[in-house]
Amino acid sequence: MTQGVRRFLAGRGMALALSVGVLAGSAGAYANQDYPTDQVNTTGLAVTDDTVTVGILQSLTGTMAISEMGAVEAFRLAIAQINEEGGVLGRQIEYVLEDGASDWPTFADRARKLLRQDNVATIFGGYTSASRQAMLPVIERENGLLFYPTFYEGMEQSPNVVYTGQEATQQTIAALNWLAEEKGAETFYLIGSDYVWPRTTNNIARTHIEEVLGGEVVGEDYYALGHTSFGSAVNRVRLRRPDAIVSTVVGGSNVAFFRQLNASGLNGSNTLLLSLATSEDEVLGIGGENVEGFYSAYKYFMSLENENNEAFVAAFKEMHGSDSVIGDNTQAAYLGPWIWKAAVERAGSFDVDAVNDNLAGIELHNAPEGYVRVHENRHLWTRARIGKWNADGQATVVWESDDLIEPDPFPEGY
């Protein structure tokens, strides 16, 4: 096990020398009489009298590393906090960190390695849909468990995955309803990066706009990942004069897109734009002044005012530096280890089948986004929120759904 930790340190350099695994200690001893190892682990997982090993699998290198680091930091924080509280079933969590290297087959390989060689009790990780879909067959075959932290397009419900981010209906449809009802938008322009999530999301969006809202989609454009010349795109948008622009532009393109929007005179004061892929992480790069007055739809914003979130933000900054920003994905990642811990303790066992049986109905009261509950379909009941960006790179929540929204990965009619 120490190998995993060492590997991690070697990889990340000295800056992050916080080795969680080494904290293994006193707390474990008493609880293990209640939960003897041979009873909580009947399937050969890496569980000892004092420790349990889990895997973290994200891209530490390659193009996606930018987006996936936040999740790694969140997992580490949650694990450290759980260990401080005494661990899971009296066992300290140790983790093996694997690099998916932004390469989908590598994700599958590493997942296989984590499950077969390291025998981890669960895996936290994955970011892009492509990486998740690459891991799925492996995880289902090996009967592993994956906590997937990213908001995604839905259309999936694996018995071996827990989805801690929002699926499309909780984010996209809630946002479109808000645009139509609160802002009176009737014509929409959909613009996105060219890959699966934006295209699938916009499929759902188009159906919803045309069939439920009775509005019109006046444009739908995709630009290659990393595309930077949005001059023509902005002019296309001008020509169609939509009431609202819905953006699923991601990553580096985001910066170019928003800067060029602003430089062409379309800004928060005269244009209604809602992004489904712009969180605090991205705004850090785009610059608050370029998104000021635009909106984002997420379940979590760093500026949320509640006790859980204040504690979470403080702890995160203490562990990862005071200038850290926390985006939606990071918060959703943070929920993973806590939900797993709750399910394991309810099951009284680390065995995947037992944990699986006890997942539905798990409640978290300490989630930074507020109370959440696990649905039978292994997604979370969450609130939808709309944030309006300020020049300082933080969002003000301008709307929040009254209730938790039921997750519906296979929405009828979409």
């Binding site: 001059g231 023509s232 002019n235």
Partner: protein, 307 residues
């Protein structure tokens, strides 16, 4: 297009024309350095994008330094950043030539492979130094926003700035090529390397200087790019195909060709992007370029070279 007045349509077309020009200056700035290097010594520098990233990170470094140490200087730092970006990329280029490239003259396809290896190393170096996250610079206020000649036309100021920069750099390169002693030597070496050697031109040092200058210009392009987009360790790889196509399409070793090719590719792509969706526009542009290259395998302006 529905209920648009002629004025509005004209305004949009004017802005569209500018978008094309703006893409043109970006492409040209990126391709100039590569064109010089390829024209002079037929080295395919796959790490060209990474030299741009050097320039971009230099600019980022200076801008963060200014923001934290001397905020009053924020409006002017670009005037230091651009030369600094050139210098950094120039120095690295000089070293790379001395260590790596000079062993590979006469092996054009091998330079392609070796510089790909170099690109990987540089990417990882960026990642180790600056981290994996993309960074973006704080722009001086005068570079933000738009210029409005009429009520309906918005011209992005950063686009204008890049155009002016490109103009200066192109003029500088043209002057160096056709008016300076270095340019004379370069042109001599290109047209007949053995003979140039025989008349006392040190072709080795011409090569090295040319390579370093080409890299330096890439650095300037990177600095300019920070006004448009963010910079990450792998940003350079995004532009390499476009850049190469510009150079190849223009015809190796012809400054005029590079300009013409950057212009036609930029206008083509930007007009197509206006009428059809973005990624398909790219496909069409590339296909047309390949088609023309098939008809004119030496590019638009093939230089007549005696060997």
């Amino acid at each position: 297009m529905g209920d648009f007045t002629t004025e509005e349509l004209l305004a949009i077309f004017a802005m569209q024309g500018f978008a094309g020009l703006s893409l043109f200056s970006v492409l040209l700035l990126m391709a100039l350095g590569l064109a010089i290097i390829y024209g002079q010594m037929r080295v395919i520098n796959m790490a060209h994008g990474e030299f741009m990233v050097i320039g971009a990170y230099t600019t980022y470094f200076i801008s963060t330094l200014v923001v934290s140490q001397a905020p009053w200087f924020l409006d002017y730092y670009v005037f230091i950043a651009v030369p600094a970006a050139f210098l950094m990329a120039f120095i690295v280029g000089w070293i790379v030539e001395a260590v790596l490239i000079r062993h590979l003259y006469h092996r054009p396809l091998d330079t392609l492979l070796a510089t790909w290896g170099l690109a990987l190393i540089m990417q990882q170096a960026f990642r180790s130094i600056f981290g994996a996250r993309e960074v973006s610079v704080r722009l001086p206020s005068w570079l933000q926003g738009s210029y409005q000649p009429t009520l309906m036309i918005d011209i992005p100021i950063n686009g204008i700035a890049i155009m002016v920069l490109t103009l200066f750099v192109t003029a500088g390169v043209a002057w160096m090529m056709y008016r300076s002693r270095w340019g004379l030597r370069v042109r001599c070496t290109v047209s007949n390397r053995e003979m140039s050697g025989a008349v006392g031109i040190n072709t080795r040092s011409v090569d090295r200087l040319t390579f370093a200058v080409g890299c330096g210009i890439a650095g300037i392009a990177g600095a300019a790019f920070t006004t448009i987009s963010s910079t990450g360790p792998t940003s350079g790889a995004l532009y390499i195909v476009d850049t190469f196509l510009v150079v190849v399409f223009g015809g190796a070793g012809s400054l005029l060709g590079t300009m013409a090719s950057a212009f036609s590719i930029a206008q083509g792509q930007s007009i197509l992007e206006f009428f059809i969706s973005g990624s398909m526009a790219k496909v069409l542009t590339l296909l047309v370029v390949i088609g023309i290259l098939m008809l004119r395998p030496e590019g638009l302006f093939a230089s007549k070279v005696r060997r």
